[in-house]
Amino acid sequence: MADGSMVMQGAPAPMAGSSLRRFARRRSTVAFLMTLPLILVIGGLVAWPAGYAIYLSMLNRRMTQFIGLTNFEILLESDSFRMVIFQSVFFAVTAVILKALIGFWLAHMLHHIPTQGQRKWRGMLLVPWVIPPALSTLGWWWMFDPSYSSINWLLNVFAVPSVPWLGEPWWARISVIIVNVWYGAPFFMIMYLAALKSVPEALYEAAAIDGATSWQRLRYITLPMMRNIISITVLFSLIVTFANYDIVRVLTNGGPRDLTHVFASYAFQVGILAGNIPRGAAVSLFMFPILGVIAFFVLRGINKRNREEA
């Protein structure tokens, strides 16, 4: 009590202005003010739509009544949505694994090219990643087209029969994965290349003297040293691939018979094309818990290793 009254007495009117100035000059205040634009953008374009989507997903089709989790229940009971879950997981996991493997292989190849030639190859190999995917997918669509598929023409040259790329469900799934891998592998390549370059040469030399073959150096030095980059890249790519929309939309539009839909394209189909916005919102929200769990474990692993090693 005595303390309180002392403070009250010790803060006369002229002091108020200077303490406000001190508050404005504090580092945390300045930091907050400088990040405010970003906070507003994230709040307006991410947080608010996400919150609004959660609200929407709990309304009825005409958006007149609150119906709780009914939309989610209906979705889980529908065969076509279960197919979407399977297809999304299959698509994302297969594509990310292939992208990671091919990206790793490309990064290794590039890493062993002398610096001068490396830049040229690096630039060329990044091309798929910088072309807008909607455009490049159109190119692939043309190459897969049943009437004038250039890939089929090539196969025919080697006496292999034509493949119904987009006409048969499994081939269509594979086509979507091929295009996504083609588009996304360069991202893995560039991340892994940076990680490879950051492994100190002395570690490889020490391992060579310790008796490691080149395979053992990869297994015991390169991979453990790249673990953080590998997991963060896989996590990032998993999120982007799960949410992929443009490739499926342009290449198959979910067909044949809605068998190649992923969450995003199905949400669009249900919410916008079929006009059931609350259920579309519910579809898109299904990704969130899956990615949330994966992100939690990946980031926890990275944090743990950072504390121990870096």
């Binding site: 002395a202 570690l203 003297i209 490691a212 015991y220």
Partner: protein, 366 residues
């Protein structure tokens, strides 16, 4: 354990730059040899060629009698300690030390025995479960040495292992390395740019400069009878004083004429050696410890010199005084009790028994 032979070893890089220009060196079994020289002298390149981390452009390297030119590092049976330790950051101290043995498929019990024994020698037993990040510089250095010891290789290679440590720890680890060598007695090749490390550790010191060997010998021999001006200047701290001079003969005795009108007598024992240089320009070399204050001395042939100090550096056990003599920078080691003052002429004596004369045309010590 084995002897190491270098025969006419050359290392040339693309563009024709020669880092090592045909060196010959025989290192005996159990010997501790230190390669020392300024940066860029080719000492590290030589070590890396022995390790197999650099290809050899010409000549032969043999370890234990086998030419290893085309044998990869892992089959040379060597162990190396790197300047930055090169510990595997994702492995515990134990795994770092065990790695080489695991790759060579040693039985688990044998690995465990060797790692624990090395940890005991190096006093790092309590650290075995830690990751390198949780260790201090000195502890990392010990682990790097432990990794080499457990392998029980034919040869230890050390590449400037103490450069990243602070001065106090460096002295401590230096002693530690010497102790380890006295215990395990493996042939050791050690690279450093620090002549004190070279002198204190080596059975024999190899002084390198510009890709060639200037001189090979035990530390005391290099100190007392350097072969070239480079070795004379490189070994010893503070470095030897070099004074341009002229050697003159007068009635059978030799006299050195120094800048500033000073002159000193050459001891009789040296006259025969230097006579052919009478009437020629030479360089007079004298170490700071042989240029001292004028006190009664049991050393023979003291020659007086009067110089005016520019800087006085009290070091506690001694005082260093710096002088300038017509462009030549000189240093003298004084008794701390000597009342030396900047700007006040000081009477010094040069102990001429310890002098050196250098031929300025060849830079060889006469």
């Amino acid at each position: 354990m084995a002897q190491v032979s270098l025969r006419k070893v050359v290392k040339a890089y693309e563009g024709g730059v020669q880092a090592v220009k045909g060196i010959d060196l025989e290192i005996a079994d159990h010997e501790f040899v230190v390669l020392v020289g300024p940066s860029g002298c080719g000492k590290s390149t030589t070590l890396r060629m022995i390790a197999g981390l650099e290809e050899i452009t010409g000549g032969d390297i043999a370890i234990g009698g086998t030419v290893v030119n085309d044998i990869p590092p892992r089959d040379r049976d060597i162990a190396m300690v790197f300047q930055n330790y090169a510990l595997y950051p994702h492995m515990s101290v134990y795994d770092n030390m065990a790695f080489g043995l695991t790759l060579r498929k040693f039985p688990k019990a044998e690995i465990d025995k060797r790692v624990k024994e090395a940890a005991r020698i190096l006093d790092i037993t309590p650290l075995l479960e830690r990751k390198p990040k949780a260790l201090s510089g000195g502890q990392r250095q010990r682990v790097a040495m432990g990794r080499a010891i457990v392998r029980d290789p034919k040869v230890f290679l050390f590449d400037e292992p103490l450069s990243n440590l602070d001065a106090k720890l460096r002295v401590q680890m230096r002693t530690e390395i010497k102790k380890v060598h006295q215990t395990v007695k493996t042939t050791t090749i050690y690279v450093t740019h620090d002549q004190v490390e070279a002198m204190t550790l080596a059975d024999r010191v190899v002084v390198m400069n510009h890709g060639v060997i200037e001189q090979v010998g035990p530390p005391q021999v290099l100190y007392h009878t350097p072969a070239t001006r480079f070795v004379a200047g490189f070994i010893g701290s503070p470095a030897m004083n070099f004074i341009p001079a002229r050697l003159e003969e007068a009635s059978g005795a030799l006299r050195l004429h120094l800048p500033g009108g000073m002159s000193v007598d050459i001891p009789e024992a040296r006259t025969a050696r230097y006579r052919s240089y009478a009437g020629k320009d030479v360089v007079f070399g004298i170490r700071p410890e042989h240029l001292t204050d004028d006190k009664p001395t049991d050393k023979t042939n003291p020659a007086p010199m009067i110089l005016t100090p520019e800087v006085i550096e009290p070091m506690g056990m001694e005082t260093l005084a710096h002088f300038k003599l017509e462009g030549a920078e000189l240093t003298a080691r004084l008794d701390p009790a000597t009342p030396a003052e900047v700007g006040q002429p000081l009477r010094l004596i040069a102990h001429m028994d310890q002098m050196h004369l250098i031929d300025p045309t060849t830079d060889k010590v006469i």
